[in-house]
């Protein structure tokens, strides 16, 4: 016997219903059985302090077995980072290696399309983009100078170079916007050809990274005004620098494969 379900709505009901039902059952278990309360379950009356007992027994101290006790006994209160490096810095390096793979997918598509033989349009403005590249490299340099300034506690130069980096980054975005508009006015768009497809998506994602960087940079500047960064504590600037240099390097690769190798 064939029992046919009529529509997708019934499926939504089925899948959603299962999910909801299981959710309710699991939620019920969590509330009633586990009591959403993993800490209190092993209250041993003997370790309750009088104050805690008066509080209805909701306060307890953990009780360890003899083995656990002996492992913990020789321990230390806090452990330094195993690699002697801040979490933020290590985390940023790790994250950037992931970003490399993201751009590899986009660049891989572009290279594959070029291999198929898709033609590069003649309207690419190498000189203008060369200027843009120079501007972005300069902004990386000013970020280095900003970090250097804050490490020497020169707050005035620090703010100055941060501001300079913002202006240079914004100038790069402006140049990119002009280049996009120029290409579009010549009929090169994301839908016109394979080149357009890969070009606009690739440079678009890069531009997005620059804009995110600019937002981060502006927040850093506001924090700098507040005096958050000192010679001892400037990891926020250093981590941002890593990101910004990465975005810069990605652009150099893009500039090379789009504009220089035609």
């Amino acid at each position: 016997m064939a029992l046919t379900l009529e529509s997708g709505a019934l499926f939504a009901l089925l899948a959603g219903g299962t999910l909801l039902l299981t959710g309710l059952v699991a939620g019920g278990i969590a509330f009633l059985v586990f009591n959403l309360d993993r800490e209190r379950r092993y209250v041993d009356e003997s370790v309750l302090t009088p104050a805690a007992a008066a509080d209805g027994g909701s306060v307890a101290l953990p009780r360890l077995s003899a083995v656990s006790e002996s492992v913990i006994h020789s321990g230390v209160v806090e452990a330094p980072p195993s690699l002697g490096m801040s979490h933020n810095k290590l985390g940023m390096w790790t994250f950037l290696s992931s970003e490399i793979m993201f751009f590899t997918a986009l660049i891989g598509a572009y290279v594959a399309f070029r291999a198929i033989g898709d033609l590069v349009p003649e309207h690419l403005n190498v000189v203008l983009s060369g200027v843009g590249t120079f501007v972005l490299i300069c902004s990386s340099f000013t970020v280095v100078l900003a970090l250097d300034a804050v490490q020497e506690n020169n707050q005035q130069n620090f703010v100055f170079y941060l501001l300079g980096s913002i202006l240079l980054g914004a100038a790069f975005i402006g140049i990119q916007g002009y280049e996009w508009a120029e290409l579009m006015s010549h009929g090169v768009t994301a839908t016109s050809s394979l080149f357009g497809t890969a070009f606009f998506v690739m440079t678009g994602f890069h531009g997005l990274h620059v804009i995110i960087g600019l937002v981060w940079l502006t927040l850093t500047l506001l924090r700098a005004f507040r005096g958050d960064f000192t010679p001892k504590d400037n990891m926020g600037v250093e981590t941002f620098g890593l990101y910004w240099h990465f975005v810069d390097v990605v652009w150099i690769v893009l500039f090379t494969i789009i504009y220089l190798i035609q």
Partner: protein, 548 residues
């Protein structure tokens, strides 16, 4: 003995619902990942039962072709992205900081963000049922040009792609967190060569996630641009649909190892504890994990042998696929020799571990068969492949995960799970699993293609399909037994104590469940098995340090 209070010992209070929703504690986040994973396991499992119900007999049973396409597509996507991976992340979240003697993950707030992004990604994926045209019917592989607006006009494909990008970003953020935690937050004396094998496996997996997932995100971004902005990446007339396959499998083949390596880590923790022996060849297991992590990136195009590759590439991918079986084989020997000569305690975790070994062996070997190109051309897209990857992912990973659940739930919730029901769960799952998936090998050899919603009666496929359907419902029964076991054990609440299994690693040197700060003092480690050594020292027995 009386409890000693150290300075800074936490005075705890009841955790409210708001505490859970806003927590940055790796243990609470880990538990929420596990609950999330089981919810989606129930949803994906329901879809699997619908598939088996439809295929039980020739002719239409329950679903029409279009509904069937949606059901198997969402089954695959759910099980991979919303069950297996969140489950592994959950266990990793809970136990990596405990095993390395840390108080939390390196970035607790990022950790909470990953969890809630996973929830959001799951909601996005499942909301695709609600748009006109129903859920994405594109297989879990989403091949171009099937995903183009021409063939899949429904916006469910966009929801599918956006959901996967969100899930991918969550696991990338999680990977950064795991890597920094493992490398930078080890307790004093915990060198890389004293790292517990589960933590090692999570570290290797995190690197694979870190480098593979962005490829999928990039490909999905291109797919979305094709569908919504009119770009031509995967358009057959002008673009390159095969590019999608390359990018997709560049992620999705490592994803197989992303799913199985942590389960291997779980097994490597359980076997020595229940054999009362040190692990056989600790460094061989570590190096083979690393080898799998690296080689996993070199085998992706073996999924594309029937797409058409140059003969040179074909030979390369045949070879790399065979080579990656070597480190896996090394592990097999390590695990078996860990058990040989040990005094085995056949508790539920060990039973499931042995289930993992035997089932994963079958899945691994049938994978090597498919590396042989002439054979692969015959087996590609038949039920043989379905049998193969279920032996790897279900027979391997899920058995490993359940073994981990029986091993670690006492630590997470403080009570023991019932052994009797646990053994019933194991045997039901073992029999049900084999009854479901072994006949699929034969179906594949008989030529039954995957992803078809129906088959003719005269092909002689009916008996095997019926057996598989019966097996699927036995698996359902097995998990119901598991659910009953958890509920009954929670009500019975038999205290587990700090260390119910006489374990080796640091998670057994704190209360069950551990306090928010894990350890009153950070332990100082001087060997591979600190808790076992402390136990021997306390009993006045000699501690021969045969390992590091």
């Amino acid at each position: 003995m009386a409890a000693t209070t150290y300075p800074g010992s936490a005075v705890t209070r009841r955790a409210s619902l708001v505490d859970w929703l806003t927590t940055v504690d790796h243990k609470k986040i880990g538990i929420m990942y596990v609950i999330l994973a089981f919810l989606f396991f129930a949803a994906g499992g329901t879809l699997a039962l619908l598939i088996r119900w439809e295929l039980a007999l020739p002719g239409q049973q329950l679903l029409d072709a279009d509904q069937y396409n949606k059901v198997f597509s969402m089954h695959g996507t759910t099980m991979i992205f919303l069950f297996v991976i969140p489950m592994l992340v959950g266990l990793g979240n809970y136990f990596v900081p405990l095993q390395i003697g840390a108080r939390d993950m390196a970035f607790p707030r990022l950790n909470a963000l990953s969890l809630w992004m996973t929830v959001g990604g799951g909601i996005l994926l499942y909301s695709s049922w609600l748009v006109p045209g129903g859920a994405a019917a594109i297989g879990w592989t989403g091949y171009a040009p099937l995903t183009s607006t021409t063939f899949s006009p429904s916006s469910s494909v966009d929801l599918w792609a956006i959901g996967l990008i969100v899930l991918g970003s969550a696991s990338t953020a999680g990977a950064v967190n795991f890597i920094v935690t493992t490398l930078n937050m080890r307790a004093p004396g915990m060198t890389m060569w004293r790292l517990p094998l589960f933590t090692w496996s999570v570290l290797v997996t995190a690197f694979m996630v870190l480098l593979a997932t962005p490829m999928l995100s990039g490909a999905l971004a291109m797919q979305l641009a094709d569908r919504n902005l009119g770009t031509q990446f995967f358009v057959p007339e002008s673009g390159d649909p095969v590019l999608w396959q390359h990018l997709f499998w560049f992620y999705s083949h490592p994803a197989v190892y992303i799913m199985v390596v942590p389960a291997m880590g779980v097994i490597s923790e359980i076997l020595p504890v229940f054999s009362r022996k040190p692990i056989f060849g600790y460094s061989a297991i570590v190096w083979s994990s690393i080898a799998i992590g690296v080689l996993g990136f070199t085998t992706w195009a073996h999924h594309m042998f029937t797409t058409g590759l140059s003969p040179l590439l074909e030979s390369f991918f045949i070879l790399s696929t065979m080579i990656i079986a070597v480190p896996t084989g090394v592990k097999m020997f390590n695990w078996i020799f860990t058990m040989i000569g040990g005094s085995l305690k056949f508790d539920t975790p060990l039973l499931f571990s042995i289930g993992f070994l035997s089932m994963f062996l079958i899945g691994g070997l049938s994978g090597v068969f498919q590396a042989v190109l002439p054979l692969d051309r015959q087996l590609h897209d038949t039920y043989w492949v379905v049998a193969h990857f279920h032996y790897v992912i279900f027979g391997g990973t899920v058995f490993g995960l359940v073994a981990g659940a029986y091993y670690w739930l006492p630590k997470m919730f403080g009570f023991k799970l019932g052994e009797g029901l646990g053994k019933i769960h194991f045997w039901l799952m073992f029999i049900g699993f084999n009854l479901t998936f072994f006949p699929m090998h034969i179906l594949g050899l008989l030529g039954m293609p995957r992803r078809y919603f129906d088959y003719p009666a005269e092909r002689g496929w009916t008996e095997y399909n019926l057996a598989a359907t019966i097996g699927a419902f036995i698996i359902l029964l097995a998990f119901l037994v598991f659910l009953v076991n958890v509920i009954m054990s929670a009500i019975r609440r038999e205290p587990a104590g700090d260390d119910p299994w006489e374990g080796n690693t640091l998670e057994w040197a704190t209360t069950s469940p551990p306090p928010v700060h894990n350890f009153d003092r950070i332990p100082v480690v001087s060997s591979l098995r600190p808790v076992r050594d402390a136990r021997l020292r306390l009993a006045g027995e000699p501690v021969e340090d045969e390992l590091h």
